[in-house]
Structure formats: structure tokens, C-alpha cells
Amino acid sequence: MTSALTTDVRDGIAVVTLDVPNAPVNTFARSVRDEFTALLDRLERDESIRAAVVRSGKPDVWVAGADIEEFLGIETSSQAEALSRDGHALLERLEKLKTPVVAAISGACLGGGLEAALACAYRVGADTPKTVFGLPEVQLGLIPGGGGTQRLPRLVGLEAGLDMILTGRNIRARNAVQMGLIHELVHPAILDEIAIERAKALADGTLKRGMAGGPHGPRHVLLDENRVGRALVFRQARERILARTRGHYPAPLAALDVVATGYTHGTDRGFREEARLFGELAVSEVSRQLVFLFFATTALKKDPGVAEPAPAPQSVQKLGILGAGFMGAGIASIAAQQGTLIRLKDADPGRVGKGLAAAREVLRDRLTKKQITRQQLDDYMTLIGGTTDYSGFRNVDLVIEAVFEDLGVKQAVLQETEAVTPANAIFASNTSTIPIAQLASVSSRPQRVIGMHFFSPVPKMPLLEVIVTPQTSREVTTTVVGYGKTLGKTVIVVNDGPGFFANRILAPYINEAGILLDEGVAIDAIDRALVEFGFPVGPITLIDEVGLDIAGKSGAIMLEAFGTRMAPSQSLTRVVAAGRTGRKGKKGFYRYDETGKKRGVDPSVYELLPTGQRRTEVPSDEIQRRCVLAMVNEAVRCLQDGILRTSRDGDVGAVFGIGFPPFRGGPFRYADSLGTERVVRALEGLNSDRAPRFAPAQLLIEMARGGRRFYPERGHPFPG
């Protein structure tokens, strides 16, 4: 087997290049750790080596962290704890090595990679946008297990260190040098040269080991070096975590405890506590679900959207967008950032102007956060050409329509577009409910018609639901899937059908919330129960946000398609009939002030509901059971009906599209964690002559009967 490390000794300096063979990124897999151990042996033994430099052979990555595949083999907390302790021992050797080691960092330096860099004597970074530093472990329900909780805060200060550990966010190279995370930042062309020079100086003693400046100043003295100050920092951090996670995610709290232990009882205790809690978290349910989502999204990145062998995607150089509303402008803003030339069309210049302003708002926000430069903002806006006619559509590769949600309107623009675009142009609809086949029925080239269902707000929502009809060509699918990925989206491909996947499983969930309203349950009680379950907002808030008129329209389509089991609640029907539209009209189930800020339940809305001002109490867990199982049941139906290709797509779609709690993995993972039998029993318990909507999906009954699961209980979620 080829080794990951190559060592070249010149002039007494060992230049070690890390390049894991046949892998896109460098990780600290077991074999790499073994090679590092051997390297340390050599550095300790070989007197001719005065110092060492560790660089990466991959342009965009130094070390991306641990090998997550390895975590899947972990079955007990003590196995994981041992893994962490081994890491501690290795990095302690590195830290205490007499031969100074300089990290020459170009590209991502994450997780275990950063922890290793922290144990080096000196760190030089390359000034490139790809050079970032972070400890993303909490995002997988874990804590740093290689001493990061102890070394990082001591290097950059408690506040900055906690921020990195508790949020998992990346730090750009320029900030890293300012906060003392690295000693120097240089042009990538001289990175190796400077690293070697520093290694020599460290060996000669002309450069002393030590912090890159380190935390200093009055704030540091008050907060880091003072017990009372630290207690304040820890208390505030805990409050922020609880507000953000609502207690659903144990990892950030565990990380906080470990950092605190290190400060209170010394780093030895800190390291031990880090290993212990890392072990516990590694086998926790939350971490397993988050790791599943990591693998699911990674798998989707490689999935071309059709069965292999997949045809190569066409390139999308020019994009036509019909409708410069909030969706159209949002799509334009992200497409422009990928260098796509965009023709943004709407009926009149005023609307085009509003669309341009909305797109600029998105970019402006990125500029404020220093994610793009002023020049980039100007360039991106220049790529978006507003128009009120179809000029400039002669060379578009893809057209996305985001016009008014009405079949007639959409069919009309489809036909207009086909008359002015090249024969190989793709027409994609951003409809959320209208079946793509109905649109394609008026097309002269139905094989080039597809659905691209973006979620609002487009720049923030990570999911793209691509909808194919039996006529959609495979090349069109791979092109749209490929372009969706270019736009930074996680793309699932689903088959055509009313509501597709996301809105179809949302419908019974929203309906159930509405039926609870019909029964007299309080608006805020319903929302609170589902937020407690882990949704970002409750169902009633959600439809207020989406627009009650739109929810009503969507409900009617679902009723027509699926019959009474999808009948909308009387409450929603009545509130829509009363002309309430939700937040956009500043009048919905909730009240809104002049600026559109939510101001609590609107008590007057109860007058419109079946029970009037009379309220009924239903326990929170029953609200959760009814709404969530209705959704889970529908998700299984989507799999059974062939809307979904795999349960993986369903889980990713539900989590990233409609906010299903990530720590529960998605509706299928949730069903697995409850057990399919238990789900069927619970549904049958809710099912009755009065509520036949709860009849369990056939596939679910079969799986329960066979004691089957959607995913393997252990190991890789997608074996083979």
C-alpha cells in the first residue's frame, strides 16, 4: 500500500508531505495515525533531523479531520474513549518533541487536523480563501476528542475558543492570524520556504517556541485569568446554547463542561474528561442521526440523480428566470455567485427592479459578513440582466419559471418560452404543488420539462427537490441535478405527483394541526408542542409565514388528489375565507406589528374557528404524536408509491426542506428509532371511523410484520 506520508530530509530539516492516496481529502484514518506514530519515532531517534515541517500534498485541504467512516464501527463508549485517549497520547508526544515541528497549512485545517496543528511548535498559514480553521465536531453531535477543548482556548482565549468549539464554525485565514491561532500568514507561493526557514530558526534557537501573540489585553485578564470572569463566560455560553438547541443537542453543553473542567482542575483532568464525554457522545442517538445525515448528504453529492451509467450533464452558462419575485430573485442571487449569466424577466420594469433589489439585498448581506468583496457584488449584479421581454433567451441553457402559482399562467409561459429558446434548453418549474406532467402536457418537448422546487428563502434553504416525469430525459435530470449542486444545494430527485415529496408530507401534518384547532386546542399550544419536538417553528406559525392563501390553495390540490384523508381543516378553510393571509398581510393566526414582527396569538381569530372562544387541552405528547405520525405515515406512502427513490432522500428532504428535527434523522430514521411495529400500533390507535386518515401505509404494515427497518441497525447506513 502506498503511504500517506513522504519525508524528504534536506539540510537537517525533514519536510513531511501528507497526501492520503486515492482520497479527495486528508483525514486521520487509522493507517495515517500509524504513519504519524512512526514519524514521531523517527524524529525522536534520528539526530540528524533538527526540525520538521508538515505540509499537505492536496491543494485545498491540509487535514479535514477524523475519518468519520471509522466512527461507524464504534459500538461502545469505551471504544470511542480509547480512540480519544490514543489521540491525546500521540499529540502529547508531538507537543513535547524536542525536534520542533512547523505546520505549513494550506487549505482546510479542521477537527483533528486543527488539533494536530495546535500541538505543533509553530503554524504558518497560506493566504488563500480555502485556508480555514475549525472544530466542527459539535455539528456531528460530538466534541473535539484530540485535546482541542484544552489547547484551543488557552491559545486564542476563552471567548474565541468557546465560540469555535460550541458553534463548529470555520475561521478564515486572515482572522486566524489576528486571533493568534497561527503565527504567520503568507502568500501560498512562499509557504514552504517560510515554514522551512522558521523550522531552522526554531532548531537554532534564534526563534523561541511560544504563542503567536496569544490572548492578551484587559478583557483577557478579566475573563480568562479570573475565576469570577470565567464563571460569567461559562454561564452566558450555557444560556446561549440552551436558547439555540432547546436542550435537544447534548454536545455543546458537554464541550462547555470539558473546557470548564480544564480551567478548574487543570488540563490533565480536562483531557480525561474530554475523552470520557467524547466516548459517551460518539454512541449517542443524536450523534448517530447527525452522522447519518452527514453520510446521506455526502452520498447525494455523488448521486447524479439517475441510475448509473448516468449521462454527462450539459453545462449551464446562461439561465433564464421567469418571475422576479422573492423566489426568482433568490435563485438569481445564488446563480450569479456561480458565474451564471442570468436573464431575469418579469411583466413590468417595476417588478424587475424589485427583483434586482432583492437579489442585491442577498449579496449585500454577504458583503456585510465579508463573505464576498465589493467587486464580486458588482460583478454578480452585472450578471443579472433584467428584462420585460424575451430578448436574450436565444442562448439560454435552462429556464426556471417562478411565476404565479397557477397552471394556466405556467402553461402559457412554458409555451412562450419554448418559442424563443433553443431546442435543447431545459424548462424547469419552481412550482411547489402543480404536477409537472400537467405542465409538460402543453410542451412541444416534454422530455425537457422538469421540476426544480426551491425552498424559501432560496439563499438560506439547503434543499432542492428535483421532480421528474416519466417523459423527462435522463440527460435533463443529470443536468439539473448537477446545476443544483453547483448552486450549493443538496439535491433529491423525486417522481412527479401532487405535492411531490416535501409538500405532500407537510400536508397531513399541517392538516392535523388544523384539526386540533377544530377541536379547540390553543394555537400556541400546538406550535409549542412541535417546537418542543424539535421543529424550528410550529405548523401554525409555518402557514402564517408561507401565506394562508397559498396553504389553502395547496390544501385544495391535495384534497383533489388524495381524497378525504387529505381534507383541509375547517379552521384553515374558514380563516382563509375570512381573507387572512398570514404574515404578508400582517393578519393571520398570529398578530404582526407594522414591521411584520410576530406579536403573539391573535385572540380574535378564534371567533372564526369551530369552537369559538372555547379551548380544549390536549397533552403535548399527543399533539406531537398525531402531527408527526401523520407526516411519517405519508412519507412511507411516498416511498411505497415510488415518489421517493430511497428513504435516504426522504430523510434528507424532510430535514433540509421542511425542518424535520435533524437530531431525529428524518421521518424514516425516526420510524426506525421508534420501531416500525410501534409506529403501526400508534397509528392504529389513532385510526378510527372518525379519523380514517391515520390508517397505516401498506408498506409500513408489511415492514412491521417482518420486523424490518428502513436502515441497518448498525454500521454504515448505506451498506454496499
Binding site: 449569466l341 420594469p349 417595476g350 427592479g353 434586482l356 433589489a357 440582466g385 433584467g386
Partner: protein, 431 residues
């Protein structure tokens, strides 16, 4: 079908411009560079052009930005063009865009490039304001000073009068005469009366207003969405007055010669912001890419005379040369577009066309002839539409070819007068 020189035939595929706005109004917040970029971006968009096909960009400007003197390169760095599109800025006063177009055409004719963009931009709302000589001397000395003492000493030499900024005037460096004074002089020499000038200005506004109303003139305009809010959308020129009258024009006071003069703000072109651009290709490439050109360049000519004489009369010397190179006479020409710097200049030029003396100066025995007014500036001209110096030539080219197409004509002649006593003429053909 003919080519100019011995080269390849050059097609004008399309032309687009921003609306022209009086300086200090609708477009005042947009720099000349950004006007140029907006215009060229829309040209590329509208024509469904693949930016990778573009090989060169030539742009004209008269008052360049001190910070970015090569406006052409800034425009060529548009995100939809490859960074390898080489670009040059040219300056020939009010014929700068014509210079850009003929430079690009020459490169195509020579076979050096096959697809080029040419045009120009001007923002007279954003002209550089200079410091006085005394002030800039003091600043330069202070910046070179090695000690604080000598820096203070250098700065202490500044006098209050040094603080008065210098704004560039539209005056001839050689004669010190402003353009208005030259126009005034031409009116006197050629006996162009005040009423004749006002009538011509009125005609310009009426015809431009009609062209705007029926959409012929606005067809060449890319509506400009003014950033950052984009709530202001400019879709038409804002200097055209369909409500002006001969009485209103007659009431204006002469600006350049209060006692004996006849040139007023009403019968002159206004200071204007705007940009215009043209897509040029070799005939073969245009066909290969599936374009139907607006027309072709048949010939062109430049000429010059002593700026101290009749500054804006050189089109009279250029036009007969361009016609001879085209192998045509004025009778063959379906439409004439003459740049209107001043009504007095247009009317002087037209008189020159009819004059045997001017014909002989140009080396011809017979005059160009009398221009049929029904074929002249049929949608008005710069007096009404406006005159962003660097852009006008491209605007006229597009206007002429579009209208020639609408009328089913074959040949068009355009002339442009320029500071420094220079003149330009070009003959275009449709088939």
C-alpha cells in the same frame, strides 16, 4: 456589396445604448465606467452573444476618470466576458465612439479579430475636478518631505486662492475658444439666423418626441435600473421636450455672445450622461453565428481643419471623401444622420455641403449637394436626445441602421463634428 479598403466585410450586428440623461439628473450616480458596463452587458444579453466569442473591445471617452483612464479595459472586465478580451480606449473628442467603431472595423477587415464590441461612455455628472497648480505643488512637495518641519513648510505655502478647484472647460487648448464661442462664430460666418437655429432645435425635439412615443427611438435603449435600489427605471431619454415651442426657444438669451449672439441653451446640445455600444463582426462570422446584421460598413473618412477657423465644419471635408470611397453620391443615400452639437453647426455643415468653395477645399469639383430635410435626422438628434461626448457616435450608428431597416432603405450617411477642428463621415449599407 462592397468592402472598405481591401479587407473583409464588416457587419454591424446590433447596437444598444443607455437612455441619455441630462447631466446631474437620473444617471448622475453612475460613473462612465458603470454606464459603459451596463450598456455592454445588455448588448451581450440582448443579442444572446456568448462572451467567449468576443476578441476585442474598443471604447471612447472624452473626459476620462483619473483613477481608471482606460475605460475600455474596465468595461472588458465584465464578468460575462473572458479576461482575455484586450481593450483600448480611444479619444477623438465627440467622434470618439466613431473612432472606436472604425478601429474595431479595421481590425476585423484586416482579419486580426472577427468579433468586437465598440462604443463609448461619458458621465458629465462625474468629471474630475482638479486642484490648482499651487495646491498640487505644495501637496507633492509635502509628500516628498523627509521631516515634519519641511512638510509643514511646504503646506504653509498654500494660499486661499490655491484652494479654488479647477473644473475642465469645453475649450480648445490651442485657441482658448469655447465650443459655444465657435458655434457662435460659425453662425455669423455662415449667416445662420437665430430663428433658423431655433426652428431646427424645435424640429429636433418634435421628431425625437415622436420617435420616443412610437417606440422607434426607445427600441435602441436598454432600460437602466439605477442601483442600489433599482426602483428608478430609466427607459427613455430625459432631455426631449415635446412641449417646447418656438416662442419658448426664442425667449432664451444667447449664452456666448450676449450682444450679437444667437446660440442659446435651447439650440445647443445639453451636457449629457450615457453610454452606447455596437457589436461588430466579420460578415462570415455573423452568418456562422446565426445573426442577421443590421447592416455593413461601406466606407468612412476623417478630416480636419484649423481649429481657429470654423471649429465644427470638418464634416464638410470628410463626407465627400467617404462618399467617394463608397462609390456613391448623396442621391444614393436614403437617410442622413448628422450629429447636432449646435443648430448653428448643423446648418453651417449643410450649407458647406452645397458650397462649391468647400467642395474645392475637399479636393472635389462639385459640392456634395443639398440634403433632403425629409431624410435628415428623422428622429431628431443630439440637441434633443442629448450628447454624452464619448457615446454619441455609437448612438447615431445604431439609430441610422435601425431606421434604415424600418424604412427598407439601402444606404445611410452619418457625419460627426469634433473638437480640434475634426470631422467624421461614414457610409453604411443594409445588404
Amino acid at each position: 456589396m462592397a468592402t472598405f479598403g481591401n479587407g473583409r466585410r464588416v457587419a454591424i450586428v446590433a447596437g444598444v445604448r443607455t437612455p441619455f440623461a441630462r447631466s446631474g439628473t437620473a444617471l448622475k450616480t453612475i460613473s462612465a465606467i458603470d454606464l459603459g458596463k451596463t450598456c455592454v452587458a445588455e448588448l451581450i444579453q440582448r443579442t444572446s452573444l456568448d462572451g467567449h466569442d468576443v476578441e476585442a473591445l474598443v471604447f471612447g471617452t472624452v473626459v476620462p476618470s483619473v483613477l481608471a483612464p482606460n475605460i475600455a479595459r474596465e468595461v472588458a472586465l465584465l464578468p460575462m466576458l473572458p479576461k482575455g478580451v484586450q481593450a483600448v480606449t480611444v479619444s477623438r473628442a465627440c467622434a470618439s465612439a466613431n473612432q472606436a467603431i472604425t478601429d474595431a472595423a479595421d481590425q476585423i477587415a484586416l482579419g486580426h479579430v472577427s468579433v468586437a464590441i465598440a462604443g463609448g461612455a461619458e458621465s458629465l455628472s462625474n468629471v474630475p475636478i482638479l486642484h490648482s497648480r499651487g495646491f498640487s505643488d505644495a501637496l507633492v512637495t509635502a509628500s516628498r518631505a523627509k521631516t515634519i518641519g519641511s512638510r509643514v513648510k511646504a503646506l504653509s505655502r498654500i494660499r486661499p486662492r490655491d484652494l479654488v478647484p479647477i473644473t475642465p472647460a469645453i475649450a480648445e487648448p490651442s485657441t482658448g475658444e469655447t465650443m459655444g464661442q465657435s458655434a457662435e462664430k460659425m453662425a455669423k460666418i455662415n449667416h445662420v439666423s437665430r430663428d433658423e437655429q431655433d426652428q431646427f432645435a424645435l424640429r429636433s425635439h418634435r421628431l425625437a418626441a415622436a420617435g420616443t412615443k412610437d417606440g422607434r427611438l426607445t427600441a435602441e435603449i436598454a432600460p437602466t435600473y439605477v442601483p442600489p435600489k433599482y426602483d428608478l427605471v430609466i427607459g427613455a431619454d430625459n432631455g426631449i421636450r415635446d412641449d417646447t415651442s418656438i416662442d419658448q426657444l426664442a425667449a432664451l438669451k444667447p449664452v456666448f455672445d450676449r450682444r450679437y449672439g444667437s446660440v442659446t441653451a435651447g439650440n445647443s446640445s445639453p451636457l449629457t450622461d450615457g453610454a452606447a455600444a455596437i457589436l461588430l463582426m466579420s460578415d462570415d462570422r455573423a452568418r456562422a453565428l446565426g445573426y442577421t446584421p443590421l447592416g455593413f460598413i461601406r466606407s468612412y473618412a476623417y478630416a480636419a481643419l484649423d481649429p481657429g477657423e470654423q471649429l465644427l465644419q470638418a464634416p464638410v471635408l470628410a463626407a465627400p471623401v467617404a462618399l467617394r470611397r463608397a462609390g456613391l453620391s448623396l442621391r444614393d443615400i436614403d437617410l442622413v444622420e448628422m450629429h447636432e452639437a449646435f443648430a448653428s453647426q448643423v446648418l453651417s455643415n449643410l450649407r458647406g455641403f452645397e458650397s462649391k468653395a468647400w467642395a474645392e477645399r475637399a479636393g472635389f469639383s462639385e459640392p456634395v449637394g443639398e440634403v433632403d430635410r425629409a431624410r435628415l435626422n428623422v428622429m431628431g438628434g443630439s440637441i434633443a436626445i442629448g450628447h454624452p461626448f464619448g457615446a454619441t457616435g455609437a448612438r447615431i450608428t445604431t439609430t441610422l441602421l435601425n431606421e434604415l431597416g424600418r424604412r427598407g432603405g439601402q444606404f445611410g450617411l452619418m457625419t460627426v463634428c469634433a473638437a480640434g477642428g475634426m470631422g467624421f463621415a461614414m457610409v453604411v449599407e443594409r445588404q
